[in-house]
Protein backbone atom coordinates (compact mmCIF):
# COMPACT_ATOMS: atom_id res chain seq x y z
CA UNK A 1 0.00 0.00 0.00
CA UNK A 2 3.00 2.23 0.26
CA UNK A 3 4.22 2.07 -3.33
CA UNK A 4 2.52 5.34 -4.25
CA UNK A 5 4.38 7.29 -1.62
CA UNK A 6 7.57 5.33 -1.93
CA UNK A 7 8.08 6.12 -5.59
CA UNK A 8 7.82 9.83 -4.98
CA UNK A 9 10.92 11.28 -3.28
CA UNK A 10 9.17 14.57 -2.43
CA UNK A 11 6.37 12.61 -0.83
CA UNK A 12 8.92 10.71 1.24
CA UNK A 13 10.55 13.95 2.30
CA UNK A 14 7.22 15.42 3.36
CA UNK A 15 6.42 12.23 5.23
CA UNK A 16 9.64 12.36 7.24
CA UNK A 17 9.13 16.07 7.82
CA UNK A 18 5.69 15.51 9.31
CA UNK A 19 6.90 12.62 11.46
CA UNK A 20 9.80 14.78 12.62
CA UNK A 21 7.49 17.65 13.53
CA UNK A 22 5.43 15.32 15.65
CA UNK A 23 8.60 14.12 17.39
CA UNK A 24 9.25 17.75 18.28
CA UNK A 25 5.67 18.11 19.51
CA UNK A 26 5.98 15.15 21.86
CA UNK A 27 9.47 16.06 23.05
CA UNK A 28 8.90 19.78 23.67
CA UNK A 29 7.40 19.50 27.17
CA UNK A 30 10.26 17.24 28.24
CA UNK A 31 12.76 19.66 26.71
CA UNK A 32 11.12 22.60 28.49
CA UNK A 33 11.20 20.79 31.83
CA UNK A 34 14.80 19.75 31.36
CA UNK A 35 16.39 23.04 30.28
CA UNK A 36 14.42 25.13 32.73
CA UNK A 37 15.43 22.92 35.61
CA UNK A 38 19.02 24.05 35.01
CA UNK A 39 18.28 27.79 34.88
CA UNK A 40 18.23 30.45 37.54
CA UNK A 41 14.66 31.63 38.11
CA UNK A 42 15.26 35.04 36.53
CA UNK A 43 15.95 33.54 33.11
CA UNK A 44 12.53 31.86 33.08
CA UNK A 45 10.47 34.81 34.25
CA UNK A 46 12.00 37.09 31.64
CA UNK A 47 10.31 35.16 28.84
CA UNK A 48 13.09 32.78 27.91
CA UNK A 49 11.34 29.48 28.54
CA UNK A 50 12.53 27.75 25.38
CA UNK A 51 16.05 29.20 25.31
CA UNK A 52 19.00 27.22 26.62
CA UNK A 53 20.30 28.37 30.01
CA UNK A 54 22.85 31.16 29.87
CA UNK A 55 23.91 30.35 33.37
CA UNK A 56 23.79 26.58 33.98
CA UNK A 57 23.02 25.73 37.58
CA UNK A 58 22.12 22.56 39.45
CA UNK A 59 20.66 24.48 42.34
CA UNK A 60 16.99 23.85 41.35
CA UNK A 61 17.67 20.13 41.49
CA UNK A 62 19.30 20.40 44.88
CA UNK A 63 16.39 22.47 46.12
CA UNK A 64 13.75 20.13 44.74
CA UNK A 65 15.51 17.09 46.13
CA UNK A 66 16.41 18.17 49.64
CA UNK A 67 15.47 21.75 50.51
CA UNK A 68 12.09 22.77 49.12
CA UNK A 69 9.16 23.27 51.45
CA UNK A 70 6.71 20.48 50.62
CA UNK A 71 4.97 19.55 53.84
CA UNK A 72 5.43 21.05 57.25
CA UNK A 73 9.19 21.00 57.07
CA UNK A 74 11.56 21.98 54.30
CA UNK A 75 12.71 18.49 53.44
CA UNK A 76 12.58 18.59 49.66
CA UNK A 77 11.06 15.70 47.73
CA UNK A 78 13.50 13.07 48.92
CA UNK A 79 11.38 11.53 51.73
CA UNK A 80 8.39 11.26 49.38
CA UNK A 81 10.49 9.70 46.67
CA UNK A 82 11.50 7.08 49.24
CA UNK A 83 7.84 6.68 50.29
CA UNK A 84 6.90 5.91 46.72
CA UNK A 85 9.50 3.16 46.53
CA UNK A 86 8.44 1.75 49.90
CA UNK A 87 4.90 1.66 48.55
CA UNK A 88 5.52 0.43 45.04
CA UNK A 89 7.94 -2.45 45.69
CA UNK A 90 5.82 -4.57 48.08
CA UNK A 91 2.62 -3.68 46.23
CA UNK A 92 4.01 -4.85 42.89
CA UNK A 93 5.55 -8.00 44.38
CA UNK A 94 2.42 -9.13 46.22
CA UNK A 95 0.07 -8.28 43.36
CA UNK A 96 2.19 -10.09 40.80
CA UNK A 97 2.53 -13.26 42.90
CA UNK A 98 -1.21 -13.36 43.61
CA UNK A 99 -1.97 -12.74 39.94
CA UNK A 100 0.32 -15.59 38.86
CA UNK A 101 -1.29 -18.02 41.31
CA UNK A 102 -4.79 -16.93 40.30
CA UNK A 103 -4.00 -17.26 36.62
CA UNK A 104 -2.56 -20.73 37.26
CA UNK A 105 -5.68 -21.89 39.12
CA UNK A 106 -8.07 -20.33 36.61
CA UNK A 107 -6.45 -22.02 33.62
CA UNK A 108 -4.94 -25.29 34.86
CA UNK A 109 -7.17 -26.19 37.82
CA UNK A 110 -10.39 -24.74 36.56
CA UNK A 111 -13.50 -25.96 38.31
CA UNK A 112 -17.20 -25.43 37.91
CA UNK A 113 -17.86 -21.72 37.94
CA UNK A 114 -14.22 -20.65 37.62
CA UNK A 115 -14.93 -18.70 34.42
CA UNK A 116 -17.65 -16.87 36.24
CA UNK A 117 -15.23 -16.11 39.07
CA UNK A 118 -12.76 -14.72 36.54
CA UNK A 119 -15.41 -12.39 35.16
CA UNK A 120 -16.27 -11.43 38.69
CA UNK A 121 -12.64 -10.53 39.45
CA UNK A 122 -12.19 -8.79 36.10
CA UNK A 123 -14.93 -6.28 36.85
CA UNK A 124 -12.48 -4.66 39.28
CA UNK A 125 -10.42 -3.44 36.30
CA UNK A 126 -13.17 -1.12 35.20
CA UNK A 127 -14.66 0.53 38.26
CA UNK A 128 -14.03 4.23 38.81
CA UNK A 129 -12.20 4.33 42.13
CA UNK A 130 -14.40 7.19 43.32
CA UNK A 131 -16.98 4.55 44.09
CA UNK A 132 -14.76 2.89 46.72
CA UNK A 133 -13.06 5.95 48.23
CA UNK A 134 -15.44 6.54 51.13
CA UNK A 135 -15.66 2.98 52.47
CA UNK A 136 -11.93 2.49 51.92
CA UNK A 137 -11.11 5.56 53.99
CA UNK A 138 -13.26 4.13 56.82
CA UNK A 139 -11.81 0.64 56.49
CA UNK A 140 -8.20 1.80 56.56
CA UNK A 141 -9.07 3.67 59.75
CA UNK A 142 -10.58 0.55 61.30
CA UNK A 143 -7.55 -1.54 60.28
CA UNK A 144 -5.21 1.04 61.79
CA UNK A 145 -3.64 1.61 58.38
CA UNK A 146 -4.96 5.11 57.74
CA UNK A 147 -2.38 7.60 56.56
CA UNK A 148 0.41 5.06 56.33
CA UNK A 149 2.53 3.54 53.59
CA UNK A 150 1.35 -0.02 54.41
CA UNK A 151 -2.21 1.27 53.97
CA UNK A 152 -1.34 2.46 50.47
CA UNK A 153 0.32 -0.87 49.70
CA UNK A 154 -2.84 -2.62 50.78
CA UNK A 155 -5.08 -0.45 48.58
CA UNK A 156 -2.86 -0.91 45.54
CA UNK A 157 -2.76 -4.67 46.03
CA UNK A 158 -6.53 -4.90 46.37
CA UNK A 159 -7.21 -2.96 43.18
CA UNK A 160 -4.21 -4.30 41.27
CA UNK A 161 -5.09 -8.00 41.55
CA UNK A 162 -7.72 -7.89 38.83
CA UNK A 163 -5.11 -6.66 36.36
CA UNK A 164 -2.37 -9.11 37.33
CA UNK A 165 -4.89 -11.96 37.27
CA UNK A 166 -6.00 -10.90 33.79
CA UNK A 167 -2.41 -10.86 32.50
CA UNK A 168 -1.42 -14.25 33.88
CA UNK A 169 -4.71 -15.90 33.07
CA UNK A 170 -4.50 -14.84 29.41
CA UNK A 171 -0.88 -15.92 29.23
CA UNK A 172 -1.37 -19.32 30.87
CA UNK A 173 -4.36 -20.11 28.66
CA UNK A 174 -1.97 -20.88 25.82
CA UNK A 175 0.41 -22.86 28.04
CA UNK A 176 0.08 -26.59 27.17
CA UNK A 177 -2.15 -28.23 29.77
CA UNK A 178 -0.74 -31.67 28.83
CA UNK A 179 2.54 -30.71 30.50
CA UNK A 180 0.69 -30.00 33.72
CA UNK A 181 -1.26 -33.27 33.48
CA UNK A 182 1.93 -35.22 32.77
CA UNK A 183 3.61 -33.73 35.81
CA UNK A 184 0.55 -34.55 37.87
CA UNK A 185 0.71 -38.20 36.80
CA UNK A 186 4.36 -38.20 37.81
CA UNK A 187 3.19 -37.23 41.27
CA UNK A 188 3.94 -33.51 41.27
CA UNK A 189 1.61 -31.49 43.48
CA UNK A 190 -0.09 -28.15 42.99
CA UNK A 191 2.78 -25.96 44.15
CA UNK A 192 5.50 -28.14 42.65
CA UNK A 193 3.93 -27.77 39.25
CA UNK A 194 3.56 -24.04 39.70
CA UNK A 195 7.12 -23.63 40.91
CA UNK A 196 8.89 -26.02 38.54
CA UNK A 197 6.80 -25.85 35.38
CA UNK A 198 4.72 -22.68 35.20
CA UNK A 199 7.02 -20.09 36.77
CA UNK A 200 10.14 -20.87 34.71
CA UNK A 201 8.21 -20.09 31.55
CA UNK A 202 6.41 -17.02 32.92
CA UNK A 203 9.29 -14.60 32.37
CA UNK A 204 7.77 -12.39 29.67
CA UNK A 205 4.37 -11.99 31.27
CA UNK A 206 5.92 -11.40 34.69
CA UNK A 207 7.98 -8.56 33.19
CA UNK A 208 4.91 -7.12 31.47
CA UNK A 209 2.90 -7.32 34.67
CA UNK A 210 5.61 -5.87 36.91
CA UNK A 211 6.24 -2.95 34.56
CA UNK A 212 2.57 -2.20 34.16
CA UNK A 213 1.92 -2.29 37.89
CA UNK A 214 5.06 -0.33 38.70
CA UNK A 215 4.12 2.45 36.29
CA UNK A 216 0.52 2.62 37.47
CA UNK A 217 1.22 2.53 41.18
CA UNK A 218 4.11 4.95 40.96
CA UNK A 219 1.97 7.36 38.95
CA UNK A 220 -1.13 7.00 41.09
CA UNK A 221 -2.41 10.22 42.59
CA UNK A 222 -5.99 9.58 43.71
CA UNK A 223 -5.22 6.94 46.36
CA UNK A 224 -2.13 8.79 47.49
CA UNK A 225 -4.06 12.03 47.92
CA UNK A 226 -6.96 10.29 49.68
CA UNK A 227 -5.22 7.91 52.05
CA UNK A 228 -1.86 9.39 53.05
CA UNK A 229 -0.65 11.74 55.75
CA UNK A 230 2.06 14.35 55.54
CA UNK A 231 4.77 11.81 56.25
CA UNK A 232 3.45 8.98 54.09
CA UNK A 233 2.67 10.90 50.90
CA UNK A 234 3.89 9.38 47.67
CA UNK A 235 5.90 11.37 45.16
CA UNK A 236 2.99 12.46 42.94
CA UNK A 237 1.13 14.03 45.85
CA UNK A 238 4.26 15.76 47.13
CA UNK A 239 5.03 17.14 43.67
CA UNK A 240 1.52 18.51 43.36
CA UNK A 241 1.82 20.15 46.80
CA UNK A 242 5.15 21.66 45.84
CA UNK A 243 3.73 23.17 42.66
CA UNK A 244 0.38 24.31 44.06
CA UNK A 245 1.75 25.88 47.24
CA UNK A 246 0.82 29.51 47.19
CA UNK A 247 3.38 30.80 49.67
CA UNK A 248 6.31 32.81 48.42
CA UNK A 249 7.70 33.13 44.90
CA UNK A 250 6.82 30.46 42.37
CA UNK A 251 10.08 28.67 41.70
CA UNK A 252 9.38 27.25 38.28
CA UNK A 253 12.86 25.83 37.91
CA UNK A 254 12.44 23.86 41.14
CA UNK A 255 9.02 22.64 39.98
CA UNK A 256 10.47 21.36 36.72
CA UNK A 257 13.34 19.62 38.50
CA UNK A 258 10.82 18.02 40.86
CA UNK A 259 8.62 16.90 37.95
CA UNK A 260 11.59 15.23 36.29
CA UNK A 261 12.54 13.50 39.53
CA UNK A 262 8.97 12.19 39.79
CA UNK A 263 9.04 11.03 36.17
CA UNK A 264 12.50 9.49 36.23
CA UNK A 265 11.75 5.97 37.56
CA UNK A 266 8.92 5.25 35.11
CA UNK A 267 10.75 6.90 32.21
CA UNK A 268 13.79 4.78 32.95
CA UNK A 269 11.70 1.63 32.94
CA UNK A 270 10.11 2.73 29.68
CA UNK A 271 13.44 3.36 27.99
CA UNK A 272 14.96 0.09 29.19
CA UNK A 273 11.92 -2.15 28.65
CA UNK A 274 9.60 -0.17 26.40
CA UNK A 275 8.65 -3.26 24.42
CA UNK A 276 7.12 -4.87 27.50
CA UNK A 277 5.49 -1.64 28.57
CA UNK A 278 3.67 -1.37 25.25
CA UNK A 279 2.61 -4.99 25.42
CA UNK A 280 1.16 -4.50 28.87
CA UNK A 281 -0.58 -1.34 27.78
CA UNK A 282 -2.19 -3.06 24.85
CA UNK A 283 -3.29 -6.26 26.54
CA UNK A 284 -4.24 -4.57 29.79
CA UNK A 285 -6.60 -2.25 28.04
CA UNK A 286 -7.62 -4.08 24.93
CA UNK A 287 -8.43 -7.57 26.12
CA UNK A 288 -11.76 -8.11 27.76
Amino acid sequence: MSTATRSNPWGRLALYLVLGLFCIYYLTPLYVMLINSFKPLGEITSGGMVALPQDWTSEPWQKAWSEAQVGVEATGLRPYFINSFLMVIPAVAITTILGALNGYVLTKWSFRGSTLIFGFILFGCFIPFQVVLIPMARTLGLLGLAGSVPGLVFVHVVYGISFSTLYFRNYYTSFPTELVRAAQIDGAGFFTIFWRIMLPSSGPIAVVCVIWLFTNIWNDFLFGASFSDFDSQPMTVALNNLVQSSTGVKEYNVHFAGAIIAALPTLLVYVVAGRFFVRGLMSGSVKG
Binding site: S2, T28, T45, V105, P128, P135, V158, H255, L267
Partner: protein, 301 residues
Protein backbone atom coordinates in the same frame (compact mmCIF):
# COMPACT_ATOMS: atom_id res chain seq x y z
CA UNK B 1 8.12 -35.23 45.37
CA UNK B 2 8.43 -39.05 45.27
CA UNK B 3 5.36 -40.91 44.13
CA UNK B 4 3.68 -42.43 47.13
CA UNK B 5 3.97 -46.14 47.70
CA UNK B 6 0.77 -46.79 49.49
CA UNK B 7 -2.64 -45.84 48.32
CA UNK B 8 -4.21 -44.25 51.40
CA UNK B 9 -1.60 -41.48 51.42
CA UNK B 10 -2.24 -40.80 47.80
CA UNK B 11 -5.96 -40.53 48.20
CA UNK B 12 -5.53 -38.09 51.08
CA UNK B 13 -3.17 -35.99 49.04
CA UNK B 14 -5.65 -36.14 46.22
CA UNK B 15 -8.18 -34.59 48.56
CA UNK B 16 -5.87 -31.76 49.52
CA UNK B 17 -4.98 -31.26 45.88
CA UNK B 18 -8.64 -30.83 45.02
CA UNK B 19 -9.04 -28.30 47.73
CA UNK B 20 -5.83 -26.32 47.19
CA UNK B 21 -6.74 -24.46 43.98
CA UNK B 22 -9.84 -23.03 45.55
CA UNK B 23 -7.93 -22.18 48.70
CA UNK B 24 -5.32 -20.30 46.66
CA UNK B 25 -8.01 -18.36 44.82
CA UNK B 26 -10.01 -17.58 47.94
CA UNK B 27 -8.06 -14.53 49.23
CA UNK B 28 -8.61 -12.80 45.90
CA UNK B 29 -12.27 -13.74 45.87
CA UNK B 30 -12.69 -12.47 49.42
CA UNK B 31 -10.86 -9.22 48.68
CA UNK B 32 -12.90 -8.63 45.52
CA UNK B 33 -16.13 -9.47 47.27
CA UNK B 34 -15.50 -7.01 50.10
CA UNK B 35 -13.46 -4.24 48.50
CA UNK B 36 -15.10 -4.08 45.11
CA UNK B 37 -18.66 -5.35 45.40
CA UNK B 38 -19.19 -4.69 49.11
CA UNK B 39 -17.79 -1.18 48.81
CA UNK B 40 -19.93 -0.40 45.79
CA UNK B 41 -22.98 -1.49 47.77
CA UNK B 42 -21.88 0.60 50.72
CA UNK B 43 -21.42 3.69 48.55
CA UNK B 44 -24.80 3.02 46.96
CA UNK B 45 -26.35 2.90 50.41
CA UNK B 46 -24.63 6.16 51.39
CA UNK B 47 -25.94 7.82 48.25
CA UNK B 48 -29.44 7.28 49.65
CA UNK B 49 -28.53 8.45 53.16
CA UNK B 50 -28.14 11.85 54.77
CA UNK B 51 -24.39 11.43 55.28
CA UNK B 52 -22.56 14.69 55.81
CA UNK B 53 -19.05 14.80 57.17
CA UNK B 54 -19.34 11.20 58.35
CA UNK B 55 -21.34 8.28 57.00
CA UNK B 56 -24.85 8.13 58.37
CA UNK B 57 -27.36 5.37 57.96
CA UNK B 58 -30.58 7.39 57.87
CA UNK B 59 -32.15 6.90 54.49
CA UNK B 60 -33.48 9.91 52.64
CA UNK B 61 -34.57 8.34 49.36
CA UNK B 62 -33.53 10.07 46.16
CA UNK B 63 -32.84 13.41 47.87
CA UNK B 64 -29.10 13.35 47.16
CA UNK B 65 -29.69 12.64 43.49
CA UNK B 66 -32.27 15.40 43.06
CA UNK B 67 -29.94 17.77 44.87
CA UNK B 68 -27.00 16.65 42.74
CA UNK B 69 -28.80 17.39 39.49
CA UNK B 70 -29.80 20.82 40.72
CA UNK B 71 -26.24 21.81 41.64
CA UNK B 72 -24.56 24.21 39.28
CA UNK B 73 -21.17 22.64 40.02
CA UNK B 74 -22.45 19.24 38.88
CA UNK B 75 -23.94 20.58 35.67
CA UNK B 76 -20.63 22.33 34.97
CA UNK B 77 -18.81 19.08 35.71
CA UNK B 78 -20.98 16.99 33.38
CA UNK B 79 -20.91 19.60 30.61
CA UNK B 80 -17.13 19.71 30.93
CA UNK B 81 -16.94 15.95 30.79
CA UNK B 82 -18.98 15.98 27.60
CA UNK B 83 -16.84 18.68 25.96
CA UNK B 84 -13.65 17.07 27.17
CA UNK B 85 -14.71 13.54 26.26
CA UNK B 86 -15.81 14.36 22.72
CA UNK B 87 -12.75 16.46 21.89
CA UNK B 88 -10.27 14.22 23.69
CA UNK B 89 -11.51 11.02 22.06
CA UNK B 90 -12.05 12.65 18.67
CA UNK B 91 -8.66 14.36 18.46
CA UNK B 92 -6.81 11.32 19.85
CA UNK B 93 -8.51 9.07 17.30
CA UNK B 94 -7.76 11.31 14.32
CA UNK B 95 -4.20 12.03 15.41
CA UNK B 96 -3.58 8.40 16.34
CA UNK B 97 -4.88 7.15 13.01
CA UNK B 98 -2.88 9.71 11.05
CA UNK B 99 0.35 8.91 12.88
CA UNK B 100 -0.22 5.17 12.58
CA UNK B 101 -0.78 5.40 8.82
CA UNK B 102 2.27 7.63 8.38
CA UNK B 103 4.40 5.28 10.46
CA UNK B 104 3.19 2.28 8.47
CA UNK B 105 5.02 3.42 5.29
CA UNK B 106 8.22 1.44 5.89
CA UNK B 107 9.77 4.26 7.83
CA UNK B 108 13.39 4.11 8.84
CA UNK B 109 13.87 4.52 12.57
CA UNK B 110 10.25 3.53 13.12
CA UNK B 111 11.15 2.04 16.49
CA UNK B 112 12.72 5.28 17.66
CA UNK B 113 9.82 7.44 16.45
CA UNK B 114 7.31 5.11 18.10
CA UNK B 115 9.23 5.35 21.36
CA UNK B 116 9.12 9.15 21.18
CA UNK B 117 5.38 9.24 20.43
CA UNK B 118 4.51 6.89 23.24
CA UNK B 119 6.75 8.01 26.11
CA UNK B 120 4.24 10.48 27.63
CA UNK B 121 2.14 7.43 28.47
CA UNK B 122 4.79 6.42 31.01
CA UNK B 123 4.49 9.73 32.86
CA UNK B 124 2.22 10.57 35.72
CA UNK B 125 -0.65 12.93 34.87
CA UNK B 126 0.72 15.14 37.63
CA UNK B 127 4.02 15.52 35.78
CA UNK B 128 2.15 16.22 32.53
CA UNK B 129 -0.02 18.72 34.38
CA UNK B 130 2.97 20.56 35.84
CA UNK B 131 4.71 20.78 32.47
CA UNK B 132 1.65 22.09 30.60
CA UNK B 133 0.54 24.34 33.44
CA UNK B 134 3.68 26.43 33.02
CA UNK B 135 3.87 26.09 29.23
CA UNK B 136 0.33 27.46 28.94
CA UNK B 137 0.86 30.08 31.62
CA UNK B 138 0.74 33.51 29.94
CA UNK B 139 3.30 34.93 32.39
CA UNK B 140 6.18 32.59 31.50
CA UNK B 141 4.96 30.13 28.85
CA UNK B 142 3.99 30.31 25.21
CA UNK B 143 2.65 33.86 25.34
CA UNK B 144 5.72 35.22 27.12
CA UNK B 145 8.01 33.42 24.67
CA UNK B 146 6.18 34.85 21.65
CA UNK B 147 6.41 38.32 23.18
CA UNK B 148 10.11 37.79 23.76
CA UNK B 149 10.46 36.87 20.08
CA UNK B 150 8.82 40.13 19.03
CA UNK B 151 5.22 39.05 18.43
CA UNK B 152 3.98 41.42 21.10
CA UNK B 153 0.33 41.19 20.15
CA UNK B 154 0.24 37.40 20.53
CA UNK B 155 -2.27 36.26 23.12
CA UNK B 156 -2.81 32.81 24.53
CA UNK B 157 -4.35 32.78 27.98
CA UNK B 158 -6.91 30.00 27.80
CA UNK B 159 -5.75 28.60 31.11
CA UNK B 160 -6.79 31.82 32.84
CA UNK B 161 -10.07 32.08 30.95
CA UNK B 162 -13.20 30.50 32.44
CA UNK B 163 -14.66 29.71 29.04
CA UNK B 164 -11.51 28.27 27.51
CA UNK B 165 -9.70 26.56 30.42
CA UNK B 166 -11.36 23.19 29.78
CA UNK B 167 -9.67 23.12 26.35
CA UNK B 168 -6.24 23.32 27.97
CA UNK B 169 -7.04 20.04 29.69
CA UNK B 170 -7.83 18.59 26.28
CA UNK B 171 -4.46 19.83 24.98
CA UNK B 172 -2.48 18.19 27.77
CA UNK B 173 -4.52 14.96 27.75
CA UNK B 174 -4.18 14.55 23.98
CA UNK B 175 -0.44 15.05 24.28
CA UNK B 176 -0.27 12.32 26.88
CA UNK B 177 -2.42 9.61 25.27
CA UNK B 178 -2.45 10.11 21.49
CA UNK B 179 0.69 7.98 21.22
CA UNK B 180 -1.17 5.11 22.82
CA UNK B 181 -3.97 5.40 20.26
CA UNK B 182 -1.33 5.48 17.53
CA UNK B 183 0.11 2.21 18.89
CA UNK B 184 -3.35 0.61 18.97
CA UNK B 185 -4.03 1.58 15.35
CA UNK B 186 -0.55 0.56 14.25
CA UNK B 187 -1.10 -2.91 15.72
CA UNK B 188 -4.41 -3.00 13.83
CA UNK B 189 -2.75 -1.95 10.58
CA UNK B 190 -0.15 -4.69 10.93
CA UNK B 191 -2.94 -7.25 11.18
CA UNK B 192 -4.59 -6.26 7.91
CA UNK B 193 -4.81 -8.75 5.08
CA UNK B 194 -2.00 -7.77 2.69
CA UNK B 195 -3.30 -9.95 -0.14
CA UNK B 196 -6.48 -7.97 -0.42
CA UNK B 197 -4.55 -4.70 -0.47
CA UNK B 198 -2.26 -6.00 -3.14
CA UNK B 199 -5.18 -7.09 -5.31
CA UNK B 200 -6.81 -3.67 -4.99
CA UNK B 201 -3.51 -1.99 -5.79
CA UNK B 202 -3.12 -4.09 -8.94
CA UNK B 203 -6.64 -3.08 -9.91
CA UNK B 204 -5.42 0.50 -9.88
CA UNK B 205 -7.06 1.83 -6.74
CA UNK B 206 -5.54 5.08 -5.49
CA UNK B 207 -3.80 5.13 -2.13
CA UNK B 208 -6.57 7.28 -0.71
CA UNK B 209 -9.30 4.92 -1.91
CA UNK B 210 -7.31 2.00 -0.59
CA UNK B 211 -7.29 3.46 2.88
CA UNK B 212 -10.85 4.70 2.83
CA UNK B 213 -12.40 1.54 1.43
CA UNK B 214 -10.24 -1.28 2.74
CA UNK B 215 -7.85 -0.26 5.50
CA UNK B 216 -9.88 2.02 7.75
CA UNK B 217 -12.99 -0.22 7.86
CA UNK B 218 -10.77 -3.08 9.03
CA UNK B 219 -9.52 -0.95 11.92
CA UNK B 220 -12.94 -1.03 13.57
CA UNK B 221 -11.88 -3.33 16.44
CA UNK B 222 -8.81 -1.18 17.14
CA UNK B 223 -10.95 1.92 17.13
CA UNK B 224 -13.49 0.34 19.43
CA UNK B 225 -10.95 -0.71 22.02
CA UNK B 226 -9.24 2.69 21.88
CA UNK B 227 -12.65 4.31 22.33
CA UNK B 228 -13.44 2.24 25.40
CA UNK B 229 -10.08 2.98 27.02
CA UNK B 230 -10.24 6.70 26.28
CA UNK B 231 -13.85 7.05 27.44
CA UNK B 232 -12.91 5.25 30.61
CA UNK B 233 -9.95 7.57 31.17
CA UNK B 234 -12.06 10.65 30.43
CA UNK B 235 -14.69 9.74 33.01
CA UNK B 236 -12.06 8.99 35.64
CA UNK B 237 -9.86 12.00 34.85
CA UNK B 238 -8.86 13.56 38.10
CA UNK B 239 -5.09 13.94 38.44
CA UNK B 240 -4.63 16.00 35.31
CA UNK B 241 -7.36 18.47 36.25
CA UNK B 242 -5.92 18.85 39.74
CA UNK B 243 -2.38 19.43 38.50
CA UNK B 244 -3.25 21.64 35.53
CA UNK B 245 -6.03 23.93 36.73
CA UNK B 246 -7.11 22.55 40.10
CA UNK B 247 -10.67 22.88 38.84
CA UNK B 248 -10.30 26.60 38.17
CA UNK B 249 -10.48 29.39 37.33
CA UNK B 250 -13.33 29.34 39.83
CA UNK B 251 -14.99 26.00 39.21
CA UNK B 252 -14.88 26.31 35.43
CA UNK B 253 -12.89 23.10 34.90
CA UNK B 254 -14.69 20.97 37.48
CA UNK B 255 -15.13 17.36 36.32
CA UNK B 256 -17.19 14.57 37.90
CA UNK B 257 -14.13 13.06 39.58
CA UNK B 258 -13.03 16.36 41.13
CA UNK B 259 -16.62 17.13 42.09
CA UNK B 260 -16.96 13.81 43.88
CA UNK B 261 -13.74 14.39 45.80
CA UNK B 262 -14.49 17.93 46.91
CA UNK B 263 -18.11 17.27 47.90
CA UNK B 264 -17.17 14.18 49.86
CA UNK B 265 -13.98 15.20 51.60
CA UNK B 266 -13.88 18.99 51.76
CA UNK B 267 -17.49 20.14 51.59
CA UNK B 268 -18.76 17.43 53.93
CA UNK B 269 -21.70 16.41 51.77
CA UNK B 270 -20.86 12.75 51.59
CA UNK B 271 -24.33 11.72 50.42
CA UNK B 272 -24.08 13.95 47.35
CA UNK B 273 -20.51 12.80 46.77
CA UNK B 274 -21.61 9.17 46.89
CA UNK B 275 -24.45 9.89 44.48
CA UNK B 276 -22.01 11.46 42.02
CA UNK B 277 -19.73 8.42 42.31
CA UNK B 278 -22.70 6.20 41.48
CA UNK B 279 -23.42 8.22 38.35
CA UNK B 280 -19.78 7.83 37.31
CA UNK B 281 -19.96 4.08 37.85
CA UNK B 282 -23.18 3.77 35.87
CA UNK B 283 -21.73 5.76 32.98
CA UNK B 284 -18.70 3.48 32.82
CA UNK B 285 -20.86 0.36 33.08
CA UNK B 286 -23.00 1.67 30.21
CA UNK B 287 -19.89 1.83 28.04
CA UNK B 288 -18.01 -1.26 29.23
CA UNK B 289 -20.78 -3.85 29.44
CA UNK B 290 -21.93 -3.68 25.79
CA UNK B 291 -18.28 -3.70 24.74
CA UNK B 292 -17.40 -6.78 26.81
CA UNK B 293 -20.61 -8.44 25.66
CA UNK B 294 -19.78 -7.98 22.00
CA UNK B 295 -16.15 -9.04 22.60
CA UNK B 296 -17.16 -12.26 24.34
CA UNK B 297 -19.80 -13.05 21.75
CA UNK B 298 -17.23 -12.39 19.03
CA UNK B 299 -14.83 -14.84 20.67
CA UNK B 300 -17.44 -17.57 20.77
CA UNK B 301 -18.21 -17.41 17.08
Amino acid sequence: MPSSLHNPGKSIRGGVQDFLPRLVLSPTIALTLVFTYGFILFTTYLSFSNSGMLPSYDLVGWANYTRLFKLRAWSIATTNLLIFGVLYIGICAVLGLLLAILLDQRIRAEGFIRTVYLYPMALSFIVTGVAWKWILDPGIGLEAVMHDWGFTSFQFRWIKDRDMAIYTIVIAAVWQTSGFVMATFLAGLRGIDREMLHAAEVDGASTFALYRRIVIPQLRPAFLSAFVVLAHMAIKSYDLVIALTNGGPGISTEMPATFMYSYTFTRNQMGVGAASAEIMLLTIVAIIVPYLWSELRGNKQ
